[in-house]
């Protein structure tokens, strides 16, 4: 083997070690091959499906960021936040306000996207500071975060009059804001406008892959080690010299930034955002995806979210009330029988079958 080959091999191995670790399920060539095949299949999907279906699939991908963010905050740092939708909605409105005022030319929608995520993440850091440096723990984190999102929903709901505007953008109360431009990429022959369809789908797929891999690296890093230690025994972590409040706040900020990403993308996808996206029912949905999928593992959260969303949409064909009943049953079953998540339980079972069949 030449030195450059050895160097390349060891670089690949270093990258793999940073992607793998005790905090994340799935390791080794078999796992990554399957993962690569899944991404390839997802990339090939628009070739066999019509544009509307692909736009619908893009809709699913949008929610995965919020789910992964909640997975970090709840599953890894141990704080059940009921208010991720606050950052979702805030970022959605921010995207709307910025793009309605500045327009879509020169790639400004991308700037709006980045700014919306930054605003959401910053707000999350502030709320996180208020909670964790104020010694708020356990169920009270859930109550405070739920209250925050409900305050935002109620406030936005009463912004109906014409005096409620930021520049050109009217906030519009209950009806919400609409008409903002979708994501628009500047291009030589003319801007590419990403309406729901294959181009947006590819952009989102790429983002999901990048975020997933990035989170895996973060969770398997020393920072991730401290997060899971905090989940296990926060007192001890403090007694090892770490400022636990800082780590919790940072984890919460990351979760908020991911929720904000979902929010801004959602607004760009559908060209509308309403206060109900921050309401009681919306706030509980991410909890469902993450609880059913599995909160302790980022891969399970990602897969679980997609499975639950797809299932929910299928059931809604029969009537949304049946879908919600199934959702409620899923929650009960998960909590009572598989508290680590149904996807995790399935993956563990499959792992056991795989291992025992090798003998």
């Amino acid at each position: 083997m030449t030195t450059s080959e050895t160097a390349a091999r060891s670089r690949a191995r270093t990258l793999l070690t940073r992607l793998e670790g005790p905090q994340t399920m799935g390791r080794g060539p078999a796992f990554w091959t399957v993962a690569a095949l899944a991404v390839a299949a997802a990339a090939a999907y628009p070739l066999i499906a019509d544009a509307w279906t692909v736009g619908n699939a893009a809709y699913f991908l949008i929610w995965t960021f919020m789910a992964m963010g909640l997975g970090v905050v709840w599953g890894y740092a141990g704080a059940l936040s009921f208010g991720q939708t606050a950052f979702f909605g805030l970022a959605g409105y921010a995207y709307g306000v910025i793009t309605l005022n500045l327009g879509a030319a020169y790639g400004l929608t991308l700037l709006a996207l980045v700014l919306a995520v930054a605003i959401g993440g910053l707000f999350a850091l502030i709320i996180g500071y208020f909670m964790f440096y104020g010694r708020i723990q356990g169920v009270f984190i859930g109550i405070v975060t739920l209250s925050v999102t409900l305050v935002l929903e109620t406030f936005m709901a009463q912004t109906a009059g014409p005096q409620w505007r930021i520049g050109e953008a009217r906030l519009n109360g209950f009806n919400g804001m609409s008409g903002m431009p979708p994501l628009t990429l500047p291009w030589f022959g003319g801007d590419i406008v990403l309406y729901p369809g294959p181009p947006l789908y590819y952009l989102l797929l790429g983002l999901v892959v990048i975020c997933y891999l990035g989170l895996r690296i973060m969770l398997n890093s020393p920072f991730g080690n401290v997060l899971v230690a905090i989940r296990e025994n926060p007192h001890r972590v403090g007694m090892l010299g770490y400022d636990v409040r800082l780590y919790q706040m940072l984890a919460f900020g990351i979760g908020g930034a991911f929720a904000a990403l979902s929010g801004a993308l959602y607004t760009a996808w559908g060209q509308y955002i309403t206060p109900s996206s921050m309401g009681l029912t919306s706030a509980a949905l991410p909890i469902v995806w993450v609880a059913v999928g599995g909160r302790r593992d980022i891969t399970a959260t990602l897969i679980g979210t997609l499975v639950v969303l797809a299932g929910f949409q299928t059931l809604t064909i029969y009537g949304s009330q049946y879908a919600l009943v199934v959702m409620g049953v899923l929650l009960l079953v998960t909590v009572l029988a598989a508290p680590d998540g149904l996807v995790v339980a399935t993956m563990t079972q499959m792992g056991r079958i795989f291992r025992s069949s090798k003998r």
Binding site: N225, V228, E232, N233, V237, G238, M239, L240
Partner: protein, 239 residues
Amino acid sequence: MSEILRVQGLRKAFGGVVVANGIDFSLSAGAMHCLIGPNGAGKSSFFRLLLGEHAPDAGTITFDGSDITGLRSFQRIRRGISVKFQVPGIFKALSVRQNLEVAFQDHLHGQSLGATIREMLDFTDLRAEEMTPAGILSHGQQQWLEIAMAVGVEPKLLLLDEPTAGMSPDETRKTGEMLHDLNGRGITILAVEHDMAFVEQIARRVTVLHFGSIFAEGTIAEIIDHPGVQEIYLGTADV
């Protein structure tokens, strides 16, 4: 010998219960010192005051020349105080290796982190259990793991609250050897203990605490012969 810890006039009461009644205490760097006393004397409370878990009603704590009375717990740890609690404070769902990583990763990285973790695994005899969840270890093994973790923050002073509680005589002896080893590396040891054989194995000087005050201080031999000490343990004294 320089002084690593000085406590002056430390007072703390919870409602009507006085746990620290004007404690004056001094510890030299490099010492191996034990804190003994009957139940309820305030030994664990004294540790919690040193660590910053409770704020004292009065008094100061000076560590390594600086006043740490107003600092939060994690700040005191960063200055070089480390603790091993009575109930093993390890991360039960994480592997032994991960427990050590969390303890050491703030000070070491990469190669030296790996090397130190290997060394610690040998030090605690846990090489074979590197990847097992710490909750599965035996009680004695969990205590040793926690001692190793307490060393990870590169302490100058190591506080141990009943480190041999629940251990067999063999495990107790090994723990004493570990503490001597750490002391040889320059770490000052202050331990709360009930097991007199262990105290004899590790301590050069002993302090007796009673009702939140220092009752007596001296070498082991002096304390054992002290008539008052026998009485407060047996409950015949009018103190």
